[in-house]
Protein backbone atom coordinates (compact mmCIF):
# COMPACT_ATOMS: atom_id res chain seq x y z
CA UNK A 1 0.00 0.00 0.00
CA UNK A 2 1.25 3.41 -0.90
CA UNK A 3 0.17 4.68 2.50
CA UNK A 4 2.35 2.16 4.34
CA UNK A 5 5.41 3.03 2.30
CA UNK A 6 5.57 6.60 3.48
CA UNK A 7 4.86 5.75 7.10
CA UNK A 8 8.43 5.00 8.10
CA UNK A 9 9.13 5.85 11.69
CA UNK A 10 12.39 7.03 13.22
CA UNK A 11 12.58 3.63 14.91
CA UNK A 12 12.37 1.79 11.56
CA UNK A 13 15.25 3.85 10.22
CA UNK A 14 17.35 3.19 13.32
CA UNK A 15 16.55 -0.51 13.16
CA UNK A 16 17.43 -0.65 9.46
CA UNK A 17 20.72 1.10 10.08
CA UNK A 18 21.50 -1.28 12.95
CA UNK A 19 20.81 -4.34 10.82
CA UNK A 20 23.05 -2.99 8.08
CA UNK A 21 25.83 -2.39 10.57
CA UNK A 22 25.57 -5.98 11.82
CA UNK A 23 25.63 -7.43 8.32
CA UNK A 24 28.64 -5.29 7.54
CA UNK A 25 30.74 -6.69 10.37
CA UNK A 26 29.25 -10.03 11.34
CA UNK A 27 30.00 -12.03 8.20
CA UNK A 28 33.80 -11.75 8.09
CA UNK A 29 33.98 -11.87 11.89
CA UNK A 30 31.97 -15.08 12.20
CA UNK A 31 34.35 -16.89 9.84
CA UNK A 32 37.28 -15.86 12.01
CA UNK A 33 35.38 -16.79 15.17
CA UNK A 34 34.62 -20.26 13.90
CA UNK A 35 38.36 -20.81 13.49
CA UNK A 36 39.17 -19.52 16.99
CA UNK A 37 39.08 -22.39 19.46
CA UNK A 38 37.61 -21.87 22.91
CA UNK A 39 39.72 -23.04 25.88
CA UNK A 40 38.71 -26.37 27.45
CA UNK A 41 35.50 -26.16 29.43
CA UNK A 42 34.47 -22.84 27.87
CA UNK A 43 32.09 -21.96 25.04
CA UNK A 44 32.86 -18.93 22.91
CA UNK A 45 30.21 -16.50 21.63
CA UNK A 46 31.02 -13.57 19.35
CA UNK A 47 32.43 -10.96 19.26
CA UNK A 48 30.24 -10.82 16.14
CA UNK A 49 26.46 -11.10 16.33
CA UNK A 50 25.22 -14.38 17.77
CA UNK A 51 21.69 -15.81 17.84
CA UNK A 52 19.91 -15.47 21.19
CA UNK A 53 16.61 -17.29 21.73
CA UNK A 54 14.30 -16.25 24.54
CA UNK A 55 10.72 -16.80 25.56
CA UNK A 56 9.19 -13.37 25.17
CA UNK A 57 5.80 -12.68 26.72
CA UNK A 58 4.88 -16.32 26.21
CA UNK A 59 6.13 -16.68 22.63
CA UNK A 60 9.48 -17.85 21.28
CA UNK A 61 11.69 -15.04 19.98
CA UNK A 62 15.12 -15.04 18.37
CA UNK A 63 17.44 -12.09 17.88
CA UNK A 64 20.96 -11.66 16.44
CA UNK A 65 23.04 -9.53 18.80
CA UNK A 66 26.67 -8.91 19.61
CA UNK A 67 27.61 -10.07 23.14
CA UNK A 68 27.81 -6.44 24.32
CA UNK A 69 24.14 -5.69 23.58
CA UNK A 70 22.01 -5.31 26.70
CA UNK A 71 18.68 -7.05 27.08
CA UNK A 72 17.05 -3.60 27.12
CA UNK A 73 18.56 -2.57 23.79
CA UNK A 74 17.64 -5.93 22.26
CA UNK A 75 14.03 -5.51 23.43
CA UNK A 76 13.68 -1.90 22.32
CA UNK A 77 15.75 -1.75 19.13
CA UNK A 78 15.42 -5.28 17.73
CA UNK A 79 12.23 -6.75 19.15
CA UNK A 80 9.99 -3.68 18.92
CA UNK A 81 9.05 -3.71 22.61
CA UNK A 82 9.57 -0.13 23.81
CA UNK A 83 7.67 -0.44 27.10
CA UNK A 84 10.87 -0.86 29.11
CA UNK A 85 12.53 2.55 29.18
CA UNK A 86 16.19 3.51 28.79
CA UNK A 87 16.65 6.26 31.40
CA UNK A 88 19.81 6.01 33.55
CA UNK A 89 21.20 2.95 31.70
CA UNK A 90 23.11 2.10 34.92
CA UNK A 91 20.65 0.00 36.94
CA UNK A 92 19.83 2.92 39.23
CA UNK A 93 16.34 4.07 38.19
CA UNK A 94 14.32 0.93 37.42
CA UNK A 95 12.72 2.34 34.25
CA UNK A 96 13.91 -0.71 32.31
CA UNK A 97 12.50 -3.29 34.76
CA UNK A 98 11.36 -6.55 33.17
CA UNK A 99 10.96 -10.09 34.52
CA UNK A 100 13.51 -12.77 33.69
CA UNK A 101 12.26 -16.20 34.79
CA UNK A 102 9.70 -14.43 36.96
CA UNK A 103 12.19 -12.17 38.77
CA UNK A 104 12.57 -8.42 38.27
CA UNK A 105 15.83 -7.30 36.67
CA UNK A 106 17.22 -4.06 35.28
CA UNK A 107 17.29 -5.00 31.59
CA UNK A 108 19.84 -2.21 30.97
CA UNK A 109 22.27 -3.98 33.28
CA UNK A 110 21.94 -7.48 31.87
CA UNK A 111 23.44 -8.68 28.60
CA UNK A 112 20.88 -10.05 26.16
CA UNK A 113 23.07 -13.15 25.81
CA UNK A 114 22.65 -13.77 29.56
CA UNK A 115 18.88 -14.03 29.00
CA UNK A 116 19.33 -16.83 26.43
CA UNK A 117 16.82 -19.59 27.12
CA UNK A 118 15.05 -17.53 29.78
CA UNK A 119 11.41 -16.54 29.98
CA UNK A 120 11.30 -12.75 29.61
CA UNK A 121 8.18 -10.78 30.39
CA UNK A 122 7.81 -7.09 29.62
CA UNK A 123 5.02 -4.67 30.46
CA UNK A 124 3.54 -5.43 27.02
CA UNK A 125 2.94 -9.00 28.19
CA UNK A 126 1.37 -8.20 31.56
CA UNK A 127 -2.25 -7.79 30.45
CA UNK A 128 -3.87 -11.17 29.74
CA UNK A 129 -6.60 -11.73 27.11
CA UNK A 130 -7.10 -8.01 26.66
CA UNK A 131 -7.67 -7.49 30.39
CA UNK A 132 -5.33 -5.20 32.33
CA UNK A 133 -3.35 -6.70 35.21
CA UNK A 134 -4.80 -5.68 38.59
CA UNK A 135 -1.79 -3.38 39.16
CA UNK A 136 -2.28 -1.66 35.79
CA UNK A 137 -5.98 -1.12 36.47
CA UNK A 138 -5.20 0.25 39.94
CA UNK A 139 -2.60 2.64 38.50
CA UNK A 140 -5.30 4.04 36.20
CA UNK A 141 -7.84 4.19 39.03
CA UNK A 142 -5.45 5.95 41.46
CA UNK A 143 -3.77 8.26 38.94
CA UNK A 144 -0.47 6.68 39.95
CA UNK A 145 1.56 8.42 37.28
CA UNK A 146 2.27 11.85 35.98
CA UNK A 147 4.70 11.94 33.04
CA UNK A 148 4.53 8.16 32.74
CA UNK A 149 8.18 7.52 32.01
CA UNK A 150 8.81 5.39 35.09
CA UNK A 151 5.41 3.69 34.89
CA UNK A 152 6.18 0.55 32.91
CA UNK A 153 9.11 -0.32 35.16
CA UNK A 154 7.13 0.64 38.25
CA UNK A 155 4.21 -1.58 37.19
CA UNK A 156 6.53 -4.55 36.64
CA UNK A 157 8.07 -4.13 40.11
CA UNK A 158 4.65 -3.72 41.77
CA UNK A 159 3.21 -6.76 39.97
CA UNK A 160 6.26 -8.85 40.95
CA UNK A 161 5.90 -7.72 44.55
CA UNK A 162 2.25 -8.87 44.67
CA UNK A 163 3.16 -12.16 42.99
CA UNK A 164 5.56 -12.94 45.87
CA UNK A 165 3.65 -11.20 48.65
CA UNK A 166 -0.08 -10.84 47.87
CA UNK A 167 -0.84 -8.77 50.99
CA UNK A 168 2.15 -6.44 51.52
CA UNK A 169 2.30 -3.87 54.30
CA UNK A 170 3.12 -0.27 53.35
CA UNK A 171 6.74 -0.80 54.42
CA UNK A 172 6.93 -3.96 52.32
CA UNK A 173 5.59 -2.03 49.32
CA UNK A 174 8.25 0.64 49.83
CA UNK A 175 11.01 -1.98 50.07
CA UNK A 176 9.59 -3.87 47.09
CA UNK A 177 9.81 -0.90 44.75
CA UNK A 178 12.99 0.62 46.24
CA UNK A 179 14.65 0.08 42.86
CA UNK A 180 12.24 2.31 40.94
CA UNK A 181 12.48 6.09 40.88
CA UNK A 182 9.63 8.47 40.01
CA UNK A 183 10.90 11.99 39.45
CA UNK A 184 7.33 13.36 39.39
CA UNK A 185 6.97 12.09 42.96
CA UNK A 186 3.83 10.01 42.48
CA UNK A 187 4.90 7.52 45.16
CA UNK A 188 1.89 8.15 47.39
CA UNK A 189 -0.54 7.29 44.61
CA UNK A 190 1.57 4.27 43.64
CA UNK A 191 1.41 2.93 47.22
CA UNK A 192 -2.37 3.41 47.16
CA UNK A 193 -2.63 1.62 43.83
CA UNK A 194 -0.62 -1.38 45.08
CA UNK A 195 -2.73 -1.59 48.22
CA UNK A 196 -5.89 -1.47 46.08
CA UNK A 197 -4.55 -4.18 43.78
CA UNK A 198 -3.75 -6.38 46.79
CA UNK A 199 -7.33 -6.33 48.02
Amino acid sequence: MADDKIRVSRRDILRGAGAAAILGTALPASAKEAAAKAPAGLTRHGPGAVPVSIGLNGKAAKVMVEPRVTLLDALRDRLDLTGAKRICDRGACGGCTVWVNGKTVNSCTMLAIDAAGADVRTVEGLAQNGKLHAVQAAFVEHDALQCGFCTSGMVMSCAALLKNNPKPTLDEIKAGIAGNLCRCGTYGHIFNAVQEASR
Partner: protein
Protein backbone atom coordinates in the same frame (compact mmCIF):
# COMPACT_ATOMS: atom_id res chain seq x y z
CA UNK B 1 31.10 -0.14 25.09
CA UNK B 2 33.84 -1.89 23.17
CA UNK B 3 32.80 -5.26 21.81
CA UNK B 4 34.25 -8.45 23.24
CA UNK B 5 34.22 -12.19 22.82
CA UNK B 6 31.96 -13.73 25.42
CA UNK B 7 32.68 -17.07 27.06
CA UNK B 8 30.51 -19.24 29.25
CA UNK B 9 32.35 -21.61 31.58
CA UNK B 10 31.21 -24.99 32.81
CA UNK B 11 33.25 -24.72 36.01
CA UNK B 12 35.26 -22.16 37.99
CA UNK B 13 38.58 -24.06 37.54
CA UNK B 14 37.99 -24.11 33.76
CA UNK B 15 37.31 -20.36 33.79
CA UNK B 16 40.42 -19.73 35.93
CA UNK B 17 42.63 -21.75 33.57
CA UNK B 18 41.26 -19.84 30.56
CA UNK B 19 41.58 -16.43 32.24
CA UNK B 20 45.21 -17.14 33.18
CA UNK B 21 45.96 -17.60 29.49
CA UNK B 22 44.14 -14.50 28.25
CA UNK B 23 45.83 -11.11 27.98
CA UNK B 24 42.96 -8.65 28.39
CA UNK B 25 40.06 -10.51 29.95
CA UNK B 26 37.66 -9.98 32.83
CA UNK B 27 35.51 -12.42 34.77
CA UNK B 28 31.80 -11.71 35.12
CA UNK B 29 29.34 -12.79 37.79
CA UNK B 30 25.94 -11.11 37.44
CA UNK B 31 27.56 -8.19 35.63
CA UNK B 32 25.67 -5.45 37.49
CA UNK B 33 28.91 -3.59 38.33
CA UNK B 34 30.89 -4.74 35.29
CA UNK B 35 28.41 -3.46 32.71
CA UNK B 36 28.66 0.11 34.02
CA UNK B 37 32.46 -0.08 33.90
CA UNK B 38 32.28 -1.36 30.32
CA UNK B 39 29.79 1.33 29.27
CA UNK B 40 32.02 4.04 30.75
CA UNK B 41 35.06 2.38 29.11
CA UNK B 42 36.89 2.23 32.44
CA UNK B 43 37.50 -1.38 31.43
CA UNK B 44 37.87 -2.37 27.78
CA UNK B 45 38.43 -6.13 27.79
CA UNK B 46 38.77 -8.26 24.65
CA UNK B 47 37.27 -11.23 26.47
CA UNK B 48 34.54 -11.53 29.09
CA UNK B 49 34.32 -14.88 30.88
CA UNK B 50 30.94 -15.42 32.49
CA UNK B 51 30.79 -17.58 35.60
CA UNK B 52 26.99 -17.48 35.63
CA UNK B 53 26.47 -21.08 34.53
CA UNK B 54 29.55 -22.52 36.23
CA UNK B 55 28.69 -25.52 38.41
CA UNK B 56 29.80 -25.14 42.02
CA UNK B 57 29.22 -27.75 44.70
CA UNK B 58 27.85 -25.79 47.66
CA UNK B 59 25.07 -27.89 49.15
CA UNK B 60 26.40 -27.92 52.72
CA UNK B 61 24.89 -25.36 55.13
CA UNK B 62 27.14 -22.34 55.46
CA UNK B 63 28.86 -22.87 52.12
CA UNK B 64 27.97 -20.10 49.67
CA UNK B 65 28.74 -20.54 45.97
CA UNK B 66 30.33 -17.39 44.53
CA UNK B 67 27.57 -17.33 41.91
CA UNK B 68 24.80 -17.20 44.53
CA UNK B 69 22.71 -14.08 43.98
CA UNK B 70 22.32 -11.58 46.80
CA UNK B 71 18.56 -12.35 46.79
CA UNK B 72 19.28 -16.06 47.27
CA UNK B 73 21.75 -15.29 50.06
CA UNK B 74 19.25 -12.99 51.78
CA UNK B 75 16.66 -15.81 51.65
CA UNK B 76 19.00 -18.46 53.12
CA UNK B 77 17.51 -19.46 56.50
CA UNK B 78 20.78 -21.00 57.79
CA UNK B 79 22.66 -17.74 57.13
CA UNK B 80 19.89 -15.72 58.75
CA UNK B 81 20.17 -17.78 61.93
CA UNK B 82 23.93 -18.40 62.05
CA UNK B 83 25.33 -15.18 60.55
CA UNK B 84 22.75 -12.38 60.90
CA UNK B 85 25.30 -9.76 59.78
CA UNK B 86 25.61 -11.48 56.41
CA UNK B 87 21.84 -11.83 56.06
CA UNK B 88 21.20 -8.15 56.75
CA UNK B 89 24.05 -6.96 54.51
CA UNK B 90 22.71 -9.02 51.60
CA UNK B 91 19.12 -8.02 52.26
CA UNK B 92 19.93 -4.28 52.44
CA UNK B 93 22.18 -4.24 49.37
CA UNK B 94 21.12 -2.27 46.30
CA UNK B 95 17.60 -2.91 44.96
CA UNK B 96 15.38 -5.96 44.40
CA UNK B 97 16.29 -5.91 40.69
CA UNK B 98 20.03 -5.87 41.36
CA UNK B 99 19.84 -8.44 44.18
CA UNK B 100 18.13 -10.82 41.73
CA UNK B 101 21.18 -10.71 39.42
CA UNK B 102 24.26 -9.60 41.38
CA UNK B 103 26.39 -12.41 42.81
CA UNK B 104 28.28 -12.82 46.08
CA UNK B 105 31.62 -13.18 44.27
CA UNK B 106 30.90 -10.11 42.14
CA UNK B 107 29.91 -8.11 45.20
CA UNK B 108 33.24 -8.92 46.89
CA UNK B 109 35.21 -8.01 43.74
CA UNK B 110 33.22 -4.90 42.76
CA UNK B 111 34.94 -1.61 41.99
CA UNK B 112 34.80 1.51 44.09
CA UNK B 113 32.07 4.06 43.38
CA UNK B 114 34.74 6.82 43.24
CA UNK B 115 33.52 9.09 40.46
CA UNK B 116 37.09 10.01 39.54
CA UNK B 117 37.99 6.35 39.04
CA UNK B 118 34.88 5.94 36.89
CA UNK B 119 35.53 9.03 34.74
CA UNK B 120 38.63 8.87 32.58
CA UNK B 121 38.78 12.69 32.30
CA UNK B 122 40.21 12.75 35.84
CA UNK B 123 43.51 11.54 37.27
CA UNK B 124 43.32 8.25 39.13
CA UNK B 125 46.22 6.33 40.62
CA UNK B 126 44.28 3.07 40.30
CA UNK B 127 44.17 3.67 36.56
CA UNK B 128 47.92 4.38 36.53
CA UNK B 129 48.05 8.17 36.90
CA UNK B 130 50.51 9.83 39.27
CA UNK B 131 47.84 11.74 41.19
CA UNK B 132 44.48 10.96 42.78
CA UNK B 133 41.87 13.54 41.74
CA UNK B 134 39.97 12.97 44.99
CA UNK B 135 43.02 14.11 47.00
CA UNK B 136 43.35 17.45 45.19
CA UNK B 137 42.27 20.65 46.91
CA UNK B 138 39.09 21.30 44.91
CA UNK B 139 37.80 17.74 44.67
CA UNK B 140 34.28 16.59 45.48
CA UNK B 141 34.84 13.89 48.06
CA UNK B 142 31.99 13.67 50.53
CA UNK B 143 31.57 9.91 49.90
CA UNK B 144 35.30 9.20 49.86
CA UNK B 145 37.61 7.63 52.43
CA UNK B 146 38.14 9.00 55.93
CA UNK B 147 41.08 6.61 56.20
CA UNK B 148 42.61 7.57 52.83
CA UNK B 149 45.65 5.80 51.48
CA UNK B 150 48.46 8.14 50.46
CA UNK B 151 47.75 7.36 46.79
CA UNK B 152 43.98 6.83 46.75
CA UNK B 153 40.99 8.18 48.63
CA UNK B 154 38.41 5.78 47.21
CA UNK B 155 35.87 4.16 49.51
CA UNK B 156 35.25 0.43 49.25
CA UNK B 157 31.65 -0.12 48.18
CA UNK B 158 30.83 -3.68 49.26
CA UNK B 159 28.54 -4.09 52.26
CA UNK B 160 28.81 -7.86 52.14
CA UNK B 161 32.60 -7.76 52.62
CA UNK B 162 32.54 -6.19 56.11
CA UNK B 163 29.83 -8.66 57.17
CA UNK B 164 31.73 -11.71 55.90
CA UNK B 165 34.93 -10.45 57.55
CA UNK B 166 33.11 -9.85 60.85
CA UNK B 167 31.82 -13.43 60.98
CA UNK B 168 35.31 -14.74 60.08
CA UNK B 169 34.18 -16.32 56.81
CA UNK B 170 36.69 -18.16 54.63
CA UNK B 171 37.07 -17.35 50.94
CA UNK B 172 38.02 -20.30 48.73
CA UNK B 173 39.98 -19.23 45.65
CA UNK B 174 40.83 -21.27 42.57
CA UNK B 175 43.97 -20.78 40.47
CA UNK B 176 45.68 -23.03 37.91
CA UNK B 177 48.85 -23.03 40.07
CA UNK B 178 46.96 -24.07 43.20
CA UNK B 179 43.88 -23.27 45.22
CA UNK B 180 43.92 -21.43 48.53
CA UNK B 181 41.54 -20.58 51.36
CA UNK B 182 41.78 -17.16 53.00
CA UNK B 183 40.18 -15.42 55.92
CA UNK B 184 37.82 -12.91 54.25
CA UNK B 185 39.77 -10.11 55.95
CA UNK B 186 42.87 -11.06 53.97
CA UNK B 187 41.15 -10.81 50.58
CA UNK B 188 41.84 -7.09 50.25
CA UNK B 189 45.02 -5.04 49.96
CA UNK B 190 46.01 -1.39 49.99
CA UNK B 191 45.75 0.43 46.64
CA UNK B 192 48.75 0.76 44.35
CA UNK B 193 49.38 2.79 41.23
CA UNK B 194 48.05 1.08 38.14
CA UNK B 195 46.10 -1.64 39.95
CA UNK B 196 42.35 -1.36 39.46
CA UNK B 197 41.40 -4.31 41.64
CA UNK B 198 41.16 -4.10 45.41
CA UNK B 199 41.60 -7.81 46.08
CA UNK B 200 44.79 -9.85 46.24
CA UNK B 201 43.47 -12.23 43.56
CA UNK B 202 46.16 -13.01 40.95
CA UNK B 203 45.39 -13.00 37.22
CA UNK B 204 43.32 -16.09 36.59
CA UNK B 205 42.41 -16.50 40.26
CA UNK B 206 38.71 -16.67 41.05
CA UNK B 207 36.56 -16.96 44.16
CA UNK B 208 34.62 -20.20 44.00
CA UNK B 209 33.01 -20.51 47.42
CA UNK B 210 32.72 -18.74 50.75
CA UNK B 211 32.34 -20.68 54.00
CA UNK B 212 30.55 -19.13 56.95
CA UNK B 213 31.51 -20.92 60.17
CA UNK B 214 28.97 -22.19 62.68
CA UNK B 215 30.48 -20.24 65.59
CA UNK B 216 29.35 -18.21 68.60
CA UNK B 217 31.03 -15.17 66.99
CA UNK B 218 29.10 -15.46 63.73
CA UNK B 219 25.80 -16.14 65.48
CA UNK B 220 26.15 -12.94 67.52
CA UNK B 221 26.80 -10.61 64.59
CA UNK B 222 25.08 -7.62 63.10
CA UNK B 223 25.37 -5.15 60.23
CA UNK B 224 24.28 -1.49 60.25
CA UNK B 225 24.77 1.16 57.62
CA UNK B 226 24.03 4.81 56.97
CA UNK B 227 22.98 5.96 53.53
CA UNK B 228 21.53 9.26 52.35
CA UNK B 229 18.48 7.70 50.77
CA UNK B 230 16.39 5.06 52.51
CA UNK B 231 15.73 3.38 49.14
CA UNK B 232 18.55 2.62 46.69
CA UNK B 233 21.86 4.12 47.77
CA UNK B 234 25.38 2.98 48.48
CA UNK B 235 26.27 3.22 52.14
CA UNK B 236 28.19 6.29 53.28
CA UNK B 237 29.44 4.34 56.30
CA UNK B 238 28.75 0.76 57.30
CA UNK B 239 29.70 -1.30 60.34
CA UNK B 240 29.65 -5.06 60.73
CA UNK B 241 30.34 -6.35 64.21
CA UNK B 242 30.44 -9.71 65.95
CA UNK B 243 31.22 -10.71 69.53
CA UNK B 244 31.67 -13.95 71.42
CA UNK B 245 30.70 -13.41 75.04
CA UNK B 246 31.44 -16.04 77.64
CA UNK B 247 31.19 -15.70 81.41
CA UNK B 248 29.98 -12.12 81.05
CA UNK B 249 33.10 -11.03 79.16
CA UNK B 250 33.93 -10.54 75.50
CA UNK B 251 36.42 -13.23 74.54
CA UNK B 252 36.48 -12.50 70.80
CA UNK B 253 35.31 -9.52 68.75
CA UNK B 254 35.41 -8.39 65.17
CA UNK B 255 34.47 -4.86 64.12
CA UNK B 256 34.72 -4.02 60.43
CA UNK B 257 34.14 -0.62 58.84
CA UNK B 258 32.86 -0.27 55.28
CA UNK B 259 32.95 2.67 52.85
CA UNK B 260 35.56 4.56 54.90
CA UNK B 261 38.79 3.32 53.26
CA UNK B 262 39.91 1.85 49.93
CA UNK B 263 39.35 -1.59 51.46
CA UNK B 264 37.06 -2.91 54.21
CA UNK B 265 38.81 -1.96 57.43
CA UNK B 266 39.07 -4.08 60.55
CA UNK B 267 38.98 -1.77 63.55
CA UNK B 268 41.50 -3.81 65.54
CA UNK B 269 41.94 -1.14 68.23
CA UNK B 270 38.19 -1.21 68.85
CA UNK B 271 38.21 -5.01 68.98
CA UNK B 272 41.07 -4.96 71.52
CA UNK B 273 39.19 -2.41 73.61
CA UNK B 274 36.41 -4.98 74.08
CA UNK B 275 38.28 -8.24 74.61
CA UNK B 276 38.39 -9.21 78.27
CA UNK B 277 35.73 -6.63 79.13
CA UNK B 278 32.01 -6.90 79.68
CA UNK B 279 29.92 -5.40 76.86
CA UNK B 280 28.36 -2.33 78.47
CA UNK B 281 27.76 1.35 77.75
CA UNK B 282 31.27 2.35 78.85
CA UNK B 283 33.15 -0.30 76.86
CA UNK B 284 30.93 0.28 73.83
CA UNK B 285 31.74 3.99 73.86
CA UNK B 286 35.45 3.26 74.26
CA UNK B 287 35.38 0.86 71.31
CA UNK B 288 33.54 3.38 69.12
CA UNK B 289 36.12 6.06 69.88
CA UNK B 290 38.97 3.64 69.20
CA UNK B 291 37.45 2.62 65.84
CA UNK B 292 37.86 6.11 64.43
CA UNK B 293 40.81 7.38 66.52
CA UNK B 294 43.14 7.25 63.50
CA UNK B 295 40.68 8.73 60.98
CA UNK B 296 42.01 11.54 58.80
CA UNK B 297 38.86 12.77 57.08
CA UNK B 298 38.95 15.10 54.09
CA UNK B 299 37.35 18.53 54.34
CA UNK B 300 33.88 17.42 53.20
CA UNK B 301 33.50 13.99 54.78
CA UNK B 302 34.04 14.63 58.49
CA UNK B 303 30.42 13.62 58.98
CA UNK B 304 31.41 10.01 58.25
CA UNK B 305 33.51 9.92 61.44
CA UNK B 306 30.66 11.24 63.59
CA UNK B 307 28.12 8.86 62.08
CA UNK B 308 30.60 5.98 61.99
CA UNK B 309 31.20 6.18 65.75
CA UNK B 310 27.44 6.16 66.32
CA UNK B 311 27.05 3.15 64.04
CA UNK B 312 29.69 1.21 65.99
CA UNK B 313 27.79 2.02 69.19
CA UNK B 314 24.47 1.04 67.60
CA UNK B 315 25.91 -2.24 66.31
CA UNK B 316 27.47 -3.17 69.66
CA UNK B 317 24.36 -2.17 71.60
CA UNK B 318 22.40 -4.47 69.28
CA UNK B 319 24.81 -7.31 69.98
CA UNK B 320 24.46 -6.74 73.73
CA UNK B 321 20.72 -7.43 73.47
CA UNK B 322 21.17 -10.38 71.12
CA UNK B 323 21.01 -13.89 72.57
Amino acid sequence: MKNFAYYTAESVPAAARALAGMKNAVAKGGGTDLLALLKDRVLEPDEVVSLKGAKIDAKVAGVIAATTTLAELAADPWIKKHAPAVHVAADEAATPQIRNVATVGGNLCQSTRCWYYRNKNFACSKRGDDACAALTARSQHRYHAVFPHVACASAHASNLAPALIAVAATVHCVHPDGDRALDAGLLYQDPAKGRVQDTILRPGELIERITVPDSPLARRSTYVEFRERESFDFSAVSVAAAVHIDGGKVIDARIVLGAVAPKPLRATAAEQALVGQPLNAATIEKAAAAAFADARPLSDNKYKVVIGRRLVMRALAGLKEMR
